[in-house]
Symmetry: C4
Subunit: 359 residues, 4 copies
């Protein structure tokens, strides 16, 4: 069977990348159950298309927390893209801009924020609460100044999940890379600085309000896998959540995101909103590899879906053009699937389009 | 294990046909999930036979929208049968007539309608709403004139599904074949004509009434996979539906038809009918490869089942005789299964005969 | 892993028997789905043993329709045992008698009934309603005269299921074997006689009362797979049913017997009984290969379980001693399993011991 | 993928141990269905972690029937550890003490109880009711005198399950080993003594009260797999239960313990308690091979989980240090998983963290 563009990138990345870099991007935590299940879980859904609907024009546009998007497949925050390609984050940001796709920059980017922002379209900034709270503040201030339109607070990483696969060939992230977005705030001793930039495992839901007040931006919490947790985040001031198990890199055997998504969407919809409180955004990521996967996520109630590794493989194999190709392939595939499903716009993607596979 | 006639045809067709032609018929869209699942889904049902019923005579006859049938396994519309065998559609139509089986001619037939009709028994005509509406009208008029007893409006193909398997060896359908049933209505420029003969993605449920009025024939909608969609089609004037995912060639990961069938039958039965409105017909196709598969479909409420590829492989390997053999094998197998199930007539095939397989 | 006695017999039978004879016994109908599933279905159950019950003595005895049994694992009716071993049915009957196990003789036995009866303990006679009703009567009279204690009317075989596996090496049953229990009633033309001795596909539930009246014996219907059918049989005068899909040799994709058993037991228990009407017997067969399988059947409500092929393989590899060994292994295994389950008698085997496997 | 410490031990034990000893520890009963499913069943659960909880400190401590534990992963009673390593039980007991982990000594220990007690931290004693009741009493008295803090009455072993895998290479346990904890009570004839020391299959629930009164210790019943059985044990005076199928070594096809655990916990919680009656303890064992497995057991309501074979393999490959390594790896893995799950203490592990895996 002819490979899709994404499959080709994934295959070629093995050849293009040094083994350690490849494993860094590809691996998951623990037994990699969550990693393996991420993609499989999308394929455990079946579709209930409609016939004879006017799909002459398929409209993929939407507005998400004030950002106009050409299509609802965005770029998930992925650290250290410099390990994939010298053009790194700017190549990805520029490709996303070309496509009108959302771009989320990682706190662990290997390029200074300002250099990413310079070539990006609408972009969000992913935040970790670091042990040095002041570092966190300074970094967020820079992101705000550089034009980030929202913050994505990653909540599933109090400690970094153990990747057994990488074992002894674990790649070393040099200090200059680890701290690229922090260096200008560090005073003197690099070793102290690096420890301080680690995730703070004592961070709680209160960090949401803190970040919102500090930045003036909407804050989404990434890593949510439960309805009650989504509600707790919103109650604590979040503007939305990203249903994610970190691409199978944090707690292994976490529920696959399509299964968690339905629960989160239900809880968010049932939660009463204060007068004037905008509809919270729900995004999802993990294992999305085709337009049909994306369609399932959107039908289950996500406002957008994010992709991580497909962007990495596109970048590794083709730089900005590779990312462009990957995003375009996903968008075209989604549009084609929506047409065949009888759904000419995102608003037509409702939960009735999806049923669990039987076997 | 000794191969069935159908299995032999399927195996031999690989040898008989040029690779590109074989792939044209065999392939499905996307990852071929729906294709693979089509046959597997029938085998996910188990039977609850009755004992000690008089099955000395097994009666397979029925009347379907006014057509008397010797048995309830008919021929699905399949395009370009000339790629399978020079005798093409007439061989199939003649074999179906010999068996008293329903024959549905495709809009994309590689033989002029009138030549098919000349050798067919009761036959129906499958319609696409084409971009040039007038072409559609002219073609339907010809079908009516040639004696079609019903129209089958295929609703799942606003665009042709992408068959990744065929990849670079995609077969080219020459204009003279594509347009064999349209040429006489085309004025001048063949290129324009071909584009105009493509499916119109803006067609809606209104096309049902339009075709019914234009033709005076009952119109069935093919490609229905949801109960609410079936009801919408009937409300728009359809005389029935064909539960189908186009043999796994349109939206990949569509529900398998046996699972959709139960839902559609329930919705159709629960829908109130206007005074004098006849009972709508429900047919099903996709992956039927044995009499037991057919029995499951009939027990789940279908009035008839259609087969596509088994007819293609029979045609490819044996011309009219091959199709005859395939249809006869299916009919005999169905009769045998009905006897062993304690069901001497189609009316004895009720839903209690079928349960989902456990495993 | 050390093979069980039954596994050894099954393996060795392949070497001992001519291929055609082996296939005759081993094969199933159609795609052999029901055959394969027969054993697998028992293994899809899990046990909920009790602790700290007095299992110093495990009592396997019971009384079934007046026959005292040492243990509840009996011999299913299997035709033409002469193809497995020259000692044929008498060896099996004698082994069953040694074990105090129920023996059911087949209408298609390759030994005259009277010779079987001479060495049997309590035995039942399996009946087909044959096209020549008078032949059926004569045969039943002989069985009654020879001491059969019940009749087992096989209801799932209006026609013999097609065994695709045997294909061209289908074994020919010579007339003298086919008619061994009928010859003395046949007048002249063997060909006519053989046709007359085929199963009558027009037989109905009325045959139950006819046989009961004619024989004065309790009649069980074999092949029942539905609760409503069990009730219909009892209403028509049956003293019990054998839940069976004929070892996967009749309607392929029939439900596996453990799944059908629960439904049948429920229906039989819920059916109101006339005053003085004895509790109907429910037996089950198909794929039982261990004491744990048997325990599941008994816990699900069967009064006894029957085994077919394990007896054949024991006979083929060791004659009477082989059958003895197979039956003893099953009995010992059952007793051991009951002890470990905390169930010292058959009355302690209730449905709470069994749950479906999850996976 | 880099092996975990436990996986390494398990792999290396094959090389280190004589085949017969390895099979003794590794094998299960019957078809080894319960054995294989033990580990797989934990992996059939998925986790629903919480985000943004303060997990700066993860507290694994608890108090179990009066014993303070550093972490909730203890050592299951395993017989004849001398076959694994000359340091045998004392090495295991000492490693458990170092870790603050519960240690349960087996009645079938290959070291005198007093020698185990000398190096152990808080430990419990596993009891079989033996045919000679007086032997049982004497042994329990010794355990009490040596400082056992509770008795674990194993109820699932009226007879020892048949391990087909070991077949002909079944290891012989010499009398001096079998009777190491009994010899001083035996009078003269060793053969009689050995038979008397076998499990008494007539033991009933009354043994619970008998042991409790005799010892003055809390008695837990091990081998419970049903809610009603747990209640029966508690009603008979038990202080708790160990949900176990003996590591797949007794009744094969018993339910896997994680599935039984939920039922037992529910029944125990719903059972009314007398005034002043302490909360019964529920432990679970069988197939636990990672901290995530343990997390699932604790979330489903267990107060502690026990491991058998991981301790054996650690002992075989590294003596006391190997056991230490195994227990430390499990504890660290549990602490890491709890942090990633947003659960900083055992009290935070509730049933909402766990859902069945789909597909
Ligand atoms: C190599 C790698 C690095 C990642 N780095 C971050 C990160 O810095 N911050 C973050 O919130 N998520 C990070 N993620 C998680 C992604 O944002 C996203 O959740 C995940 O990749 C989605 O799954 P997919 O890769 O299957 O599309 C990372 C993922 C990968 C594969
Ligand atoms: C090669 C091929 C061509 C087809 N062409 C048409 C067509 O022209 N119109 C249509 O409605 N369906 C068409 N179908 C779908 C069939 O009518 C039918 O739904 C499908 O083949 C049933 O599945 P089966 O082949 O597994 O029996 C085609 C199917 C195949 C395999
Ligand atoms: C070779 C063979 C011949 C059989 N002949 C008969 C028969 O004559 N009458 C009948 O009622 N059942 C017959 N059966 C079915 C058995 O009674 C029984 O239902 C089946 O063998 C049980 O399955 P098992 O073989 O897996 O134990 C036959 C089965 C086999 C395998
Ligand atoms: C070799 C071996 C010997 C055992 N001996 C005993 C025993 O003497 N008493 C007992 O109650 N359980 C015994 N068990 C069962 C264990 O206590 C425990 O239930 C089981 O090993 C847990 O499963 P795991 O090995 O998968 O962790 C034994 C288990 C094994 C593997």
């Amino acid at each position: 069977m002819a490979l899709t563009a994404l499959e080709k990138h994934e295959r070629d990345a093995v050849a293009v990348l040094p083994a350690a870099a490849h494993e860094f991007f590809a691996s998951g935590s623990g037994d990699e159950v969550a990693l393996d299940e991420a993609t499989a879980a999308w394929a455990r859904h079946r579709l209930r298309p409609r016939v004879l609907r006017d799909v002459g024009e398929v409209d993929l546009t939407s507005t998400l927390l004030g950002c106009g998007l050409n299509h609802p497949i965005g770029v998930a925050p992925v650290g250290y893209l410099g390990l994939a390609h010298p053009d790194a984050e700017p190549a990805v940001a520029a490709a996303a801009r070309e496509q009108g796709a959302l771009y989320v920059a990682s706190t662990r980017a290997s390029t200074a924020l300002e250099d990413i922002a310079a070539v990006a379209g609408p972009w969000w900034f992913q935040v970790y609460v670091m042990r040095h709270r002041e570092l966190t503040e300074r970094l967020v201030e820079r992101a705000v100044a550089a034009g980030a339109r929202a913050l994505v607070l990653t909540g599933d990483t109090p400690f970094v999940g153990i990747k057994r696969r990488v074992g002894s060939q674990r790649i070393a992230i040099p200090d200059e890379t680890f701290l690229v977005n922090l260096a200008r705030h560090l005073t003197g001793d690099a070793a102290v600085g690096r420890a301080g930039a680690e995730q703070d495992p004592t961070a709680t839901l209160e960090a949401i309000g803190w970040l919102a007040r500090m930045s003036g931006l909407p804050v989404l919490v990434k890593g949510v896998l439960r309805g009650d947790d989504a509600v707790a985040c919103l109650d604590a001031g979040a503007a939305g959540v990203v249903v994610s198990n970190h691409g199978g890199r944090q707690l292994d055997r976490s529920v696959a995101t399509p299964f968690a998504l339905a629960e989160v969407v239900r809880a968010v919809r049932e939660r009463p909103r204060a007068a004037g409180e905008p509809r919270p955004a729900v995004l999802v990521d993990g294992g999305v590899r085709s337009g049909v996967d994306a369609l399932v996520g959107l039908a289950l109630g996500a406002d957008a879906v994010l992709v991580g590794r497909p962007v990495v493989w596109g970048l590794a194999t083709g730089g900005q053009a590779g990312v462009h190709e990957a995003l375009a392939a996903l968008r075209d595939d989604l549009a084609h699937a929506m047409a065949l499903a009888g759904a000419p716009s995102l608003a037509d993607l409702d939960a009735s389009l999806v049923v669990p596979a039987r076997d």
